[in-house]
């Protein structure tokens, strides 16, 4: 690393993120009551929504229930979707609410998302080691998914939910704040803490010389 500039975050267009041209047609058909059009949309997003509910609930049964409820509520309330955002962004907001309800039910003592949380501790990075280029390529896809699921599960819910929405689902800071009933500064401070903690947790897997 000779340059002082760290380039922008590179988000590769993944097949699951490409909005297919037929999406507005499918949404319109589903709105008119076409179940098969809606099932096509479900098939398109089920993997991502399941990852989201699993990351938030950290419980497979709850994640499955939350995913099912999210898709059903989406179908029932499709008339409320006005097309001001992507269909997926709208779906994510429903799924997050379902997942959070499950999480609160199972862990009633869990810190509430809109409560002040201490973001000041543990901000000094430890383990300052270079990872080298493309560290994720050292792991097979399944193994990598397992690592990512494990480290995000170790974050406290207020942090992992914000990270999930901002950095995985790519909602804006404002959309995340609105979805979670938080202020923009609260989203930003939680996101910073989440990113630093995940960096710390991933260091053991990705530091230079480390391999599977």
């Amino acid at each position: 690393m000779s340059s002082s500039r760290v380039g922008p975050i590179v988000r590769r267009p993944l097949p699951s993120q490409v909005v297919k041209d037929d999406e507005p047609v499918l949404v319109a058909a589903a709105k008119a009551g076409d179940v098969s059009a809606f099932e096509t949309l479900v098939g398109r997003y089920e993997r991502k929504i399941f990852r989201l509910t699993q990351n938030i609930t950290q419980n497979k049964e709850d994640a499955e229930d939350a995913m099912q409820e999210a898709f059903l509520k989406a179908f029932e309330h499709l008339q409320n979707f006005e097309g001001n955002s992507r269909f997926y962004t709208w779906l994510v907001r429903i799924a997050v609410n379902q997942a959070l309800m499950k999480l609160r039910k199972r862990r009633p003592n869990v810190v509430s998302l809109d409560e002040d949380v201490d973001t000041g501790e543990d901000m000094v990075p430890r383990d300052v080691e270079d990872w080298g280029p493309s560290p994720a390529d050292r792991y097979a896809q399944t193994e990598l998914s397992g690592i990512l699921g494990k480290v995000i599960g170790e974050l406290d819910p207020p942090f992992r939910v914000v990270f999930q929405l901002r950095d995985i689902e790519e909602l804006s800071t404002e959309e995340t704040a609105e979805a979670l009933g938080l202020t923009v500064p609260a989203v930003k401070s939680r996101l910073l803490r989440a990113r630093l903690k995940l960096r710390q947790a991933l260091n053991q897997y990705f530091r230079r010389g480390e391999s599977q």
Partner: protein
Amino acid sequence: MKCKTIISELADYLDEALDPGLRTQIEEHLGKCKDCRVVVDTCKQTIEIFCNSEPAPLPPATRTRLHEALAKRLRRVQA
């Protein structure tokens, strides 16, 4: 600029949400401080690893249960 400031501005720096003056100051610091450069770079890699990772396929049984539940309840909603 102190290393602590780099950490507190890290998220906005990576999101390219800083004003140009502060951004320049941070990059001047990164040019001189290897530890901060490594932290900023590995934090950026952390985000990229997550956002560039495709979700695993649904376990077949989970997928079956989802589509059965939807089919059953969607028919009921339509009725």
